[in-house]
Subunit: 418 residues, 2 copies
């Protein structure tokens, strides 16, 4: 069978997995739910079809090993997450499990054995929709699970510890889910881009250079409320027009620094047509692959916002609400994936990730790399999330080139055995 | 007694009237309420003290006439409104009834008679808080009451017609409240400025040149929602940053056209920190004393907003929600009030009104003029509304000069008798 048949298989299985949902009108599959268990079981059955050895770890992650022909081989881990946000699409996370799984089926069908294990993993909780904390599954594997998370509760006041027991897991064993870095060659995550860059370049796949670090702020602008008819323009301290000038400044400085900055939320105290706004709150989310560039840009933004506030007689209050440093992909993984693209006759497009991924957690454990797959209009976390079978074919081909490259390299080195 | 004693009287009566409220924690006095009746009765008692002939008209407006010594004299009507918004101050409207009433007391105490009647009127509904339509009291007097208003309902589903009957009025007689313009010399309204202009000029009173005409719009900006981390700045169609640029343009064009334009309300569809805004709605309120200047400015605003939308790949939708033309004050009233200021040794500050007033309705009936009194920081419709006794003294003095000027003029003309 050609790779295209396996790509069709990937698409069909994504459709099938999408039917397992805790909501009848849309896809919604959260950590430690009945649907989580059903999804794991379905994926495990597909793993068995590919002759994989399957198990579920102590965090509820689903694993399958395509066992190497070599004794004491190390593992290449490939995977992503099986949980979803409410009203999600069919590919975010899922594709990164089912695409490599179909590649394993291809290896099995063609009686290809490798000098290393391939472990496919479906992480149990990346989105954090149920308990409010993200990357729970991959952090357990990375050995960075924090014990305090046991008491985190969902909307029904059920703690993670309780939910685990209901699911059939024991929280006290959670640290057993941690992988041993000495057993691992590396971690590869395949994920839809969730942005429009590959589409705008006409590219099927992209090699990710790193995952941006984000800082978030809540910004308050206080002016003076007043009557829309009676206060001349020159005597106003309009918090909303002042905030508007700040938004424009943020956009300008983000473009200059070649990063992304977003004001997603805005609230003006005045909700009357005829009242000058006396108070505005807005959010700022700023991301860069380079923490230094991000922080330099932030410093410029703060100076500029302060200048605008002073000029307009407004009081500015900036509070940080979130901070995560950038996670670069491993340089060797990047160069291997670039070579794999070339091997598969594709232009290797380098791209950064603005969204977070399980790969961020795994980067603490072993060399980490990522491939992005083009998605239509950059839409994700939405039923309209869409990819093409052609792009899945291309990605399968790059994955094959990558895994063959690893095999060749290992045949020449001592990395072969643990 | 010097005028200062009468000014103290005005301040005390404003305090006393403020205790008549349908809410125990703040001032709230609406049309056709029990408190409306109580306020009318209290004001009527003060009118009687000044030897005025008192009556309540068919719309619930409270009147008192300081009867002229001349037979068949015409009337100068002086007044404002006695109703309030919820959580209002003590002076908006009220001052325009109680200040001239104390002047009448001064006339009576000093045995001064005039060659014309002075009719003090406390209009029953200017704010429109109960039935949603403003200037009901003054429109009834102006003869511009519309019969369809009878069925307007309050929040408790009580119609104006029913509320009138409960109050002791008969809606079918409402047109009897209309005054005959042939009986009138003119209408003068004294009102707190509700803006910071007089304060910024260090002036106690201002002569109003006219009441601005307002147009209001609801403006929708549609872009494309997206992930804050994954969509590069150059590929965004951010409805919120686009709207911010529009707000800045509106401010710039308003300043150029020397009028006021206000965005009071803004709502962004995205209320998440990490989502690029795909849809924003904001209001626009634009006012000028000159309808042509206002409409020219609006045309420029529309062109500029359209240009910004096109440049950013946004869709713009502008819908008008309100229109009122400007109401100029009568030129003769303006020049008489300017002379009265000079007579009282005050610099005559000309000022426009951005807010609506009962005087707008009365302008349809007879020559209309207005005096503004300085209020602290321009605050109105709020418990912190504040004026000084000194400014009330000055205003009483200007009113005295104005009324004496009218008397002198009438002694030389045939306007004396109807």
């Amino acid at each position: 069978m050609p790779l295209r048949a396996y790509a069709h298989n990937v698409m069909q299985r994504c459709d099938q997995l999408a039917t397992i949902s805790q909501h009848s009108n849309y896809i919604d599959r959260r950590y430690l739910s009945v649907q989580h268990k059903q999804a794991n079981e379905l994926v495990a059955s597909w793993m068995r079809e590919a002759n994989m050895r399957v198990w579920q770890d102590e965090a509820g992650n689903q694993w399958g090993r395509y066992v190497s022909s070599h004794q004491n081989a190390k593992s290449l881990v490939i995977g992503s997450h099986l949980d979803t946000v409410p009203n999600s699409g069919k590919y975010d996370g899922i594709l990164g499990v089912l695409l490599p799984l179909s590649y394993i089926q291809y290896l099995h069908d063609n009686h290809i054995s490798l000098p290393y294990h391939i472990d496919i993993v479906g992480f149990a909780d990346e989105e954090g929709t149920r308990f409010g904390t993200t990357l729970l599954g991959s952090r357990a594997v990375a050995g960075t699970w924090q014990d305090k998370w046991a008491s985190l509760k969902d909307n029904n006041e059920i703690s993670i510890a309780t939910a685990m027991r209901t699911f059939g897991l024991e929280i006290n064993n959670i640290h057993n889910a941690a992988a041993d870095p000495d057993d691992l060659l590396g971690f590869l995550e395949i994920h839809i881009e969730q942005g429009p860059v590959l589409e705008s370049k006409g590219a099927s796949v992209g090699v990710v250079t790193g995952i941006a670090g984000a800082k978030r702020f809540n910004i308050e602008v206080t002016g003076h409320a007043g009557h829309a008819g009676t206060v001349p323009m020159a005597l106003r301290q309009d918090a909303l027009v002042g905030s508007a000038e700040m938004l424009i400044a943020i956009e300008r400085l983000a473009i200059q620094s070649e990063l992304v900055a977003t004001v997603g939320k805005i609230n003006s105290a005045s909700q009357a047509v005829n009242v000058i706004s006396g108070h505005v709150e807005f959010s700022l989310d700023i991301r860069s692959l380079n923490n230094e560039i991000r922080d330099d840009c932030l410093q410029q933004i703060e100076l500029e916002l302060e200048r605008i506030a002073q000029q307009r007689g407004l009081v500015l209050n900036i509070k940080q609400s979130h901070e995560a440093d950038a996670t670069p992909c491993h340089p060797e993984m990047i160069s291997k994936l670039v070579k794999a693209c070339e091997q598969s006759s594709m232009v290797p497009h380098l791209i950064s990730s603005g969204a977070g991924h399980d790969a961020m957690a795994l980067a603490h454990l072993c060399p980490m790399g990522m491939l992005f797959v083009r998605c239509e209009k950059g839409v994700s976390h939405h039923p309209e999330e869409s990819i093409t079978t052609d792009d899945v074919v291309c990605t399968l081909d790059v994955l094959r080139s990558f895994c063959e490259g690893e095999a060749q390299k290992l045949s020449n080195t001592s990395d072969l055995v643990a």
